[in-house]
């Protein structure tokens, strides 16, 4: 009996005081609550996008161009065909510009520049590019390609603005993956007498490919959702256009213009377009994640 009492006394010396226990419980509950709060907006956004967006979807929504006729509402306002196609065209060209340049710079940083002062400077400036607001890229391209050439907006100018936006993301993500390529692979190839360029093209790049595709897809997904750089570089038409030298519509710009409309039908078109855009971006993200899971590196 008495032995029992002493052992529980001993244990009591290690037990938490009620105050500390309460504090621990309280703090953990607070952290859990904050995490739950963080997920609330996501749930609300997804719910409203689906509710409003699916209501706007129909076959004609995807197969007709938007019309300027928004007064009568109903079906006369048209769909978002030109916006979807425009986004795909602009983003495709932007990727065609940003991906080779970005991967080239990443290869240079990893294989040649390494930690020289010049490479560090390039890294610093690439980081600077990451932080530049997207609308400022729009201004850059406007100054150089619209004012500079004395011409007007065009799809390819929007692509260049988006390419500038993608570039730092592509460079940094490709650099991370290239650094993961084992040095032993490079060294064995060099020891067998392969010249540097063959090592890069036949050993390093194929090994890093899946990981780099992930980074590229994430950059594409980011660019596809951008509105600001397109506002004064590519925009100004409602028609479907396959010529990147002309005006071009895009999903984000279409949504932005429809948001400010007083007509309910036009706002509904914005919801439908927003759901389309989010689905496109989520698909890209999903593919990126699947590829990165299959990659042997990282």
């Amino acid at each position: 009996m008495s032995a029992n009492a002493t052992s529980s006394d001993r244990l009591a010396r290690f037990a938490l005081s009620p105050a500390r226990r309460r504090k621990d419980r309280f703090a953990r509950a607070g952290v859990l609550a904050a995490t739950a709060i963080a997920l609330v907006p996501l749930a609300l956004i997804v719910y409203y996008l689906l509710r409003k967006g699916l209501g706007a979807w129909s076959t004609s929504f995807f197969t007709t161009d938007p019309t300027g006729n928004t007064f009568f509402g109903g079906s006369s306002i048209g769909g978002i065909k030109s916006a979807i196609l425009g986004t795909i065209e602009i983003v495709a060209l932007a990727s065609a510009i940003a991906v080779p340049i970005g991967i080239g710079v990443a290869v240079w940083l990893v294989e040649y520049g390494k930690s020289s002062w010049f490479a560090q400077t390039v890294r610093f400036f690439v980081d600077v590019l990451t932080g530049v607001p997207s609308i400022v890229f729009g201004l850059f391209v406007y100054i150089v390609l619209v004012v500079g050439t004395g011409s007007t907006y065009a799809g390819y100018k929007g692509s260049i603005a988006l390419a500038l936006l993608m570039l730092p993301v592509v460079i940094r993500s490709a650099e991370v993956i290239l650094l993961l390529v084992p040095a032993a692979l490079r060294e064995s190839a060099l020891a067998l007498g392969a010249p540097r360029w063959r090592v890069i093209f036949n050993i390093v790049l194929p090994t890093a490919l899946p990981g780099m595709v992930t980074g590229v897809l994430l950059a594409v997904a980011r660019a596809a959702g951008e509105t600001a750089p397109l506002l004064f570089t590519a925009d100004a038409t409602l028609k479907t256009n396959f010529n990147l030298g002309g005006f071009m519509n895009s999903l984000p710009v279409q949504i932005y213009k429809d948001v400010t409309s007083p007509t309910t039908a036009v706002v509904n078109r914005a919801w439908g377009a927003a759901l389309t855009l989010v689905v496109m971006i989520l698909l890209l993200n999903l593919v990126a994640r699947l590829i990165s899971r299959r990659s042997r590196l990282a």
Binding site: R20, K23, D24, R28, V31, A34, T35, A38, L42, L44, I45, L49, I101, G104, V105, V107, W108, L109, G113, F118, A119, V122, R123, F125, D127, V128, L129, T130, G131, P133, S134, I135, V136, L139, F140, V144, V169, R172, E175, L179, L180, P195, R196, W197, G215, L218, G225, T227, A228, L231, F232, I255, Y256, V259, V267, A270, W271, A274, V278, I281
Partner: protein, 341 residues
């Protein structure tokens, strides 16, 4: 004598012919030129932007432009202070609301949550980064702002004794709702960087704290948070950079009053929003003033991001050697986090 009779002339036996070395050289110099091109491009842009902004600076003076409290297009007065303050107020609100929540999710994901929940939770938070800015604007103005207007008015009425916070009439687009949506938008990046930094805290430190009898929360407070402080601050600064540069969502949500709103729930304007809204029909000095606004925005984000990167770098440098992760150096840690978000 032996060497001279080799087929390659006077080359050593292991060196390649000049022709075979050509692709190597071409690749090296080509890629170097590409890297140099990026530097040149940024410098060129900066110079051109300054050139375009010059007329506005000449008219108002640099100081007068940045700190002049009068943005009046028809009178051709361009003082960007109301816009600058609009940007700063909404970004500060975003940090105030977003950072505690983001750090809490990071703590929960790395220290408290069941292992099985960790990956899904991370993916869900990162999904917020996949939603385009214009969709946040759309959702904010048609769902969030009308739903919250009543509660905002209630708060404004109760807090009417605090200057600038309460007392006025709540409008649907306002500073507060903009800050709230910005907080949601910066959540994924702040959370991702906090998580990265927290995952580098050595297990020894945590186990030592627990072994000394600390509760979970005390362990987090004494072992995890101090170790990650500069990393978290750096992540918050990167979030601040995002919030300052955010354009479309802010343009939709802040309204378009080119003067300083007299309370938190009034309409205002921000640097990025004024460019998006007015650039289309701007002429002459007005257009130059918008370029100047872009320049101020550019410099502002540059300063904030530079400070952020220094902090994250320092945090990562302090931890990566301790954690012994040979693959992710200080810069890759950051690149990883930003590329993923």
């Amino acid at each position: 004598m032996e060497a001279a009779s080799l087929p390659g002339g006077d080359r050593g036996i292991l060196s390649r012919s000049p022709l075979a070395r050509l692709p190597d050289r071409a690749l090296k110099y080509g890629l170097t030129a590409l890297a140099a091109l990026i530097l040149a491009l940024i410098v060129y842009f900066f110079v051109r932007l300054v050139g375009q902004a010059r007329p506005a600076f000449a008219k108002e003076g640099v100081f007068g432009f940045v700190f002049g409290n009068d943005w009046n297009v028809s009178a051709e007065h361009f003082g960007a202070l109301p816009l600058l303050l609009g940007t700063l107020i909404t970004s500060a609100l975003a940090l105030l609301i977003g950072v505690p929540v983001a750090v809490a999710t990071a703590i929960y994901a790395t220290e408290l949550c069941p292992l099985r929940l960790r990956a899904p939770l991370t993916v869900l938070v990162e999904l917020l980064a996949a939603v385009p800015s214009v969709v946040y604007g759309l959702w904010g103005i048609f769902f969030l702002a009308p739903k919250l207007q009543g509660s905002e008015q209630w708060v404004a009425d109760r807090l009417s004794f605090i200057p600038f916070i309460g007392g006025g009439l709540v409008t649907i687009p306002n500073y507060f709702i903009t800050g709230l949506v910005l907080a949601i938008m910066i959540l994924p990046i702040v959370s991702a960087i906090s998580r990265e930094v927290m995952s580098t805290v050595p297990a020894d430190h945590k186990e030592a704290a627990l072994g000394l009898g600390a509760t979970r929360w005390e362990m987090i407070r004494i072992a995890v948070l101090p170790y990650c402080r500069s990393g978290i601050v750096g992540g918050a600064m990167l979030g601040l950079g995002r919030a300052i540069g955010e354009t479309i969502a802010v343009t939709i949500l802040i309204g378009d009053a080119p003067k300083l709103g007299d309370h938190l729930f009034a309409q205002g304007y921000s640097l990025a929003a004024v460019i998006a809204n007015e650039f289309g029909e701007a002429q002459g000095v007005h257009r130059s003033a918008l370029f100047a606004a872009g320049l101020v925005l550019f410099v502002l984000t540059l300063l904030v991001n530079g400070a952020a990167r220094l902090l994250v770098l320092r945090a990562a440098r302090g931890t990566s050697s301790a954690a012994g992760k040979q693959t992710s150096g200080p810069t890759t840690l950051l690149a990883d986090a930003t590329a993923g978000a």
